[in-house]
Amino acid sequence: MNAFEYASPATLKEALGLLGNSWSDAAVLAGGTDLLSLMKDHIAEPKRVVNIKGIKELGGITKSGGGLRIGANATVDELMESAAVRAEYPSLVAAARGIDSPQVRNMGTVVGDLCQRPRCWYYRNGFGLLAMKGGKSLVESGQNEFHSIFSSGPAKFVSASSFGPALIALGAKVKIASASGSREVAVADFFKAPTGDGDREIDLKPNEIVTEIVVPAAKGAKNATYEVRNKEGLDWPLATASVVLTMKGANVATAKIVLGHVGPTPVVAADAASSLAGKAINEETATAAGKAAVAGAKPLSDNGYKVQLAAVAVKRALLAAAGKA
């Protein structure tokens, strides 16, 4: 890790003033569970680290307009223990539980989960976000068992976010502040597949801070997340699915299905979701939706197995949401 300047501002305004126009100027520290390892591995080399933990206005999980406001400093553990979350958003609770390390849940923040960098082993070994060597993708020609099955461009890593799929399915937004103002972005649009080495995998500029996540009211919508992980303890999922269902009687009125850990961004399975309209959720319809969700998958040489895992995650998330797991 390089030596760096450490700032611990008390207000958001002060924090924003400490950021720069390049990623090497400054990095934002909340939980630090990813940032510190990036810095130790010299993947990130910020000249300044801006600790936002002392900024009160960025804390807490509160009910807001029937929905939720999750502050940038709210930890995964706070989310998991929040009565408001537990009452209406089992998909978020399941995603939090999947981060199966009390240490990471205690330190890591929900916003940080959205902003963390990919775990691609080529990237983390210093071969760059897109891991290209001599015009060839190291991922495509090399060891890709944990990589993307939904890439149309050069990014072959998978989004590491645990909450992204659930938040997208719930229609959540992030609020982003910079010295010149603030903006709101749907979580669905916050993730983007980079096409160049200088690109990021999220819609955030070096001089911006994600200040909060706004989750709309669930209004009784059934929701669930299912993760396929090899290990019981802390382990990156191989595939996940988050679903949100509104029901009309026993049948689905509307559905949203979002896959995680299978593409460089969370993957919205719109066709699979719309095919459920008017149907009851059962083993047969859930299986069909799972298959539909992976219809466009393009596995690499060594990760064809993830296609089935994603389909199974969808099926099991749907059955869980419908109370049939």
Binding site: Y122, Q143, N230, K231
Partner: protein, 718 residues
């Protein structure tokens, strides 16, 4: 000749009891100091510069910028210009600075230019190895072809493999070392499995007499066979210390280097053909195996095939060691055995399935090809009872539903006879007892069992014994490898303590009015044998010594252990697993382990050894795999994130049955660390095959490999 034999089983008061580890609380409370925790005054810190190339020639090494950096203390270059490096992670230089952070900054300032050379880092496809494969001579017994083509013979032919796995010691390799140049003396705190020898090994590297190195170690955070030497980094840490005016240098490997260069277990891949008569008599074995043990090649003994059932009448063995551009292999808990056990027991399970036989019956039917048929038979039947084999076993692939359940078994063997060990027993006039032994407690309970043996011998409570180990000033004891420690240290401490006690008997015999050989030590007293009335307290007896302590030293001689230790054990393990056939995730319901291990000094610590062995086997069966990238030549998962180890939730239930019987007891003490880890991988893999109806040929049993097997998309090896 004194009688060193242990008291008969039924008369033992301390040995054979389930005593909790003496240092358990200290460790659980975080009070135990590992050498990586030791910080002598003035300690400076060193880190390494390692090759990023799997194969390259070093063109230049420029340390000038590092030497100008804040905190710089000393630099030692390993690979001079012109040197060839043969694996990514090979040592180029080590640099010391006042703080660890400064040392890292200095290391990044060392500029190394390389000329990259072609490399090979993956070995599973033997065809790609070319001249890097070094075949051993073919071995043939009998006529395997005749066996395969005999009328009524049922044959099975398939591929199997286990990748390279690492030791993954939680305390990495390394040391604190201080070289006082003026006195030419070295104080050395290594993480080692060989406290008596490792100082001499360091001295040899530095061309010093062994007398000049004083080694200390109270605790070690894992070795598993990889920590016998002082290593390159030990020598360079010492040199840095000398250059820095004798300041202690702390140099421990980072996690990445710990996995990459501090030792791994060789892989094994192979094609096996075997045959049996229709009634299940195994008639022939033919295997062509290959593996890598790193750049130096070697490291797997295929002559052990077919494992345990080696006396099959017709047998052909071909084996090739592939030199790859990877760090060297080192002994890994039961070298060779887990790999050849898997190859053998998997192929046998598969043949049994083809024969439509219960594999347990198939194994039982062929025990005449093993060196200990009676022991294995009893162990198989006991394990079967523990796991309810008869009730729960179903023919392969007949489990129904999404989550399928299966049972599997495997057999193992190991040596484990005691190593050479010396021990000194001192009985002081105040009654205190000191045991000094140049051994080490790897966390297995060595402290505890030595104390039990001495307490038993002297008729004292364990609290009356002070034990000192972990220092090369004590009488030399062997390295802790090959499960040889318990047999060695129990024999030497028994013999030294019997000798000391005999001297005490001689000193007090006149006062008790009987010849010394009529005395015994019981319940903190010296008494006339069988006559408690005629006695004196231990303290009073020792007071008779006047000013002279009794000092007795004795040894275990491995060539003549006098019945105190032997080797050669068998074990049977069975696994009960559930496999989610939609996700490929394997859950361990239960593993049962039945093991004979001679005389058991402490059933609690020996059970713990079996738990540990089984857990390591579960990790290797389900998750462990070194992932090498051919394009970059790198070990991609040299971390604890994608190099996965099982956690508590993945282990399932483990039930241990130790064969503690008078017959086994008569064999003396035998080591247990290694045998218990041998059959675990194979029995789990067999249980998975039984559950899902197909073999997952190449381990680990990850979702990828299980689903590929279920969908018949497993890639052929060659």
């Amino acid at each position: 000749m004194p009688n060193y034999s242990y008291p008969p089983m039924e008369q033992r008061r301390v040995m054979g009891k389930r005593i909790t580890r003496l240092d358990g609380m200290e460790k659980a409370a975080g009070k135990a100091k590992y050498n990586s925790d030791v910080r002598p005054k003035g300690t400076i810190h060193a880190v390494g510069v390692f090759s990023p190339h799997a194969h390259a020639r070093v063109k230049s090494v420029d340390t000038s910028a590092a030497q100008q950096a804040p905190g710089f203390a000393a630099v030692s270059v390993v690979a001079a210009p012109g040197a060839e490096v043969n694996w990514a992670g090979q040592e180029i230089a080590f640099v010391a600075a006042q703080t660890e952070e400064q040392a890292r900054d200095c290391a990044r300032l060392i500029k190394v230019e390389y000329e990259a050379l072609p490399h090979l880092v993956r070995e599973e496809n033997l065809a790609k190895a070319g001249s890097r494969g070094k075949p051993a001579g073919e071995q043939v017994t009998g006529d395997p072809e005749a066996a395969f083509s005999a009328a009524g013979a049922v044959t099975h032919e398939a591929e199997y493999g286990i990748p390279v796995i690492t030791h993954c010691c939680l305390e990495p390799h390394g040391q604190i070392v201080a070289w006082d140049g003026a006195a030419n003396k070295i104080e050395y705190w290594p993480s080692t499995q060989a406290i008596s020898a490792v100082g001499g090994d360091l001295a040899k590297q530095l061309e010093l007499p062994a007398t000049q190195v004083h080694s200390h170690q109270d605790h070690i955070g894992g070795g598993f066979g990889s920590k016998f030497q002082s290593d390159l980094w030990g020598a360079h840490a010492a040199k840095l210390s000398k250059m820095a005016g004798g300041k202690p240098v702390k140099l421990y490997l980072e996690r990445r280097e710990e996995l990459t260069i501090a030792g791994v277990r060789p892989s094994v891949f192979g094609k096996v053909k075997l045959s049996a008569s229709a009634s299940g008599e195994m008639t022939g074995w033919d295997s062509t195996t290959w593996m890598t043990g790193g750049f130096a090649g070697g490291g797997l003994n295929a002559d052990l095939l077919p494992y345990v059932f080696r006396n099959v009448a017709n047998r052909r063995i071909n084996h090739t060691a592939v030199s790859t551009n990877n760090g060297a292999s080192r002994a890994w808990r039961a070298p060779n055995h887990p790999q050849v056990c898997y190859i053998t027991c998997a192929a046998m399970e598969d043949l049994a399935a083809k024969l439509k036989m219960d594999p347990m019956e198939f194994f039982l039917k062929n025990l005449d090809k093993t060196p200990r048929a009676d022991t294995y038979k009893a162990q198989i039947l006991k394990a079967a009872e523990m796991i309810a084999w008869k009730q729960n076993w179903k023919p392969r692939g007949s489990s129904t539903g999404t989550v399928k359940r299966g049972l599997g078994l495997a057999l193992g063997t190991w040596g484990g006879a005691g190593h050479a060990s010396r021990c000194r027993t001192t009985i002081n006039p105040d009654g205190s007892v000191l045991i000094e032994i140049g051994s080490q407690d790897l966390g297995t309970g060595t402290r505890t069992i030595i104390t039990q043996v001495v307490a038993e011998t002297l008729g004292l409570p364990m609290g009356g014994i002070t034990l000192k180990l972990g220092d090369n000033n004590y009488p030399a004891s062997g390295a802790s490898g090959g499960s040889t420690t318990v047999g060695g240290v129990s024999a030497s401490s028994r013999k030294a303590s019997v000798d000391a006690l005999d001297k005490l008997f001689a000193a007090v015999a006149p006062a008790l009015g009987v010849p010394a050989d009529q005395l015994e030590a019981v319940d903190s007293k010296i008494q006339v044998k069988g006559n408690a009335a005629k006695s004196m307290t231990w303290k009073a007896a020792c007071a008779k010594l006047g000013v002279s302590a009794i000092i007795a030293e004795n040894a275990n001689d491995p060539r003549n252990p006098g019945g105190l230790t032997t080797g050669g054990v068998g074990g049977c393990q069975m696994a009960d697993v559930s496999v989610d056939t939609e996700t490929g995730i394997v859950k361990i319901n239960k593993v049962v382990a039945v093991q004979d291990v001679g005389l058991v000094i402490n059933p609690k610590t020996s059970d713990s050894q079996v738990y540990g062995g089984v857990i390591m086997g579960i990790c290797a069966a389900l998750m462990e795999e070194r992932v090498m990238d051919e394009m970059t030549g790198r070990f991609l998962n040299a971390d604890m994130e994608f190099y996965k180890l099982a956690g508590a939730g993945d282990i399932g239930e483990i039930e241990v049955h130790m064969d503690i019987t008078p017959d086994h007891d008569k064999r003396g003490v035998i080591g247990i660390g290694e045998p218990a880890t041998v059959p675990t991988i194979a029995c789990i893999a067999n249980a998975v095959a039984n559950a899902i109806g197909v073999r997952v040929p190449v381990l680990p049993l990850t979702p990828k490999n299980v689903l590929n097997a279920l969908h018949n998309t497993t890639r052929r090896l060659a």
